[in-house]
């Protein structure tokens, strides 16, 4: 079980595609910084076909005016706990 973080905006499809292709069942994907824009209605559907659990970092959602409705989100302490409970971490940027 692996924790992936992604920090790039939907305008960077290449990073998203490499991240998406690396996800296994049971992994989690935490959207941070500009990657919270993947949760805009226009982009969100692309997340549904990923095998991983999708989460977002709450302060980054709030700062960017992206709605948290229907989103699993964590605060900074929750980010740390995700890193603890997954066996390894990969940061995509």
């Amino acid at each position: 079980m692996m924790l992936h973080t992604l920090n790039s905006s939907p305008s960077d499809r290449t990073t998203f595609q490499s991240c998406a292709a690396s996800l296994s069942e049971g992994d989690s994907l935490l959207l941070i910084e500009e990657a919270v824009y993947w949760l805009l209605p226009h982009h969100r559907h692309e997340l549904t076909r990923l095998p991983a659990r999708i989460l977002a970092l709450e302060p980054d959602l709030l700062a960017r005016g992206v709605s948290s409705a229907g989103v699993n989100y964590v605060d900074d302490a929750g980010f740390v706990e995700l890193a603890v409970t997954h066996g390894s971490v990969i940061n995509w940027f």
């Binding site: 905006s9 939907p10 910084e33 500009e34 805009l40 226009h42 982009h43 700062a63 960017r64």
Partner: protein, 120 residues
């Protein structure tokens, strides 16, 4: 020498880098020099216009607030493109401040009118 019209193009999301704030600073400086300034937000820069950005949790200033005061400095031409809105599906979303939306032909005409372009 005539004051040339200056076009400032920003293509970056807020906070990602200092680009959003820097574009505003350049615009304000040009206004001080009585240069006619137009600000064009393309691609991720349209995300600067999403309402209700609460940046306290990341300890950063919200550039959205600064965009709203630009008209006080006679910078009242804030543009974006249909292509940029479509990139993030923001065609029917309230943006603040509301930009003037140009299609591709109008963007090309805007560029052709401006002999000085600063990209940020």
């Amino acid at each position: 020498m005539n004051a040339p019209e200056v076009l400032i193009i920003c293509r970056r999301a807020p906070y990602a880098s200092s680009a959003a704030r820097d574009a505003i600073d350049v615009a304000l400086s040009c206004a001080l020099f009585a240069l006619p300034v137009t600000l064009l937000l393309l691609d991720d820069a349209v995300l600067q216009l999403l309402p209700d950005q609460q940046s306290g949790g990341i300890g950063q200033k919200n550039p959205n607030a600064m965009l709203g005061v630009l008209p006080m400095y006679d910078i009242d031409r804030l543009y974006t493109s249909t292509q940029s809105l479509a990139l993030h599906g923001l065609e029917d979303v309230r943006l603040d401040p509301a930009p003037i939306v140009l299609d591709q032909a109008e963007i090309r005409a805007l560029l052709a009118r401006h002999p000085r372009v600063i990209m940020l």
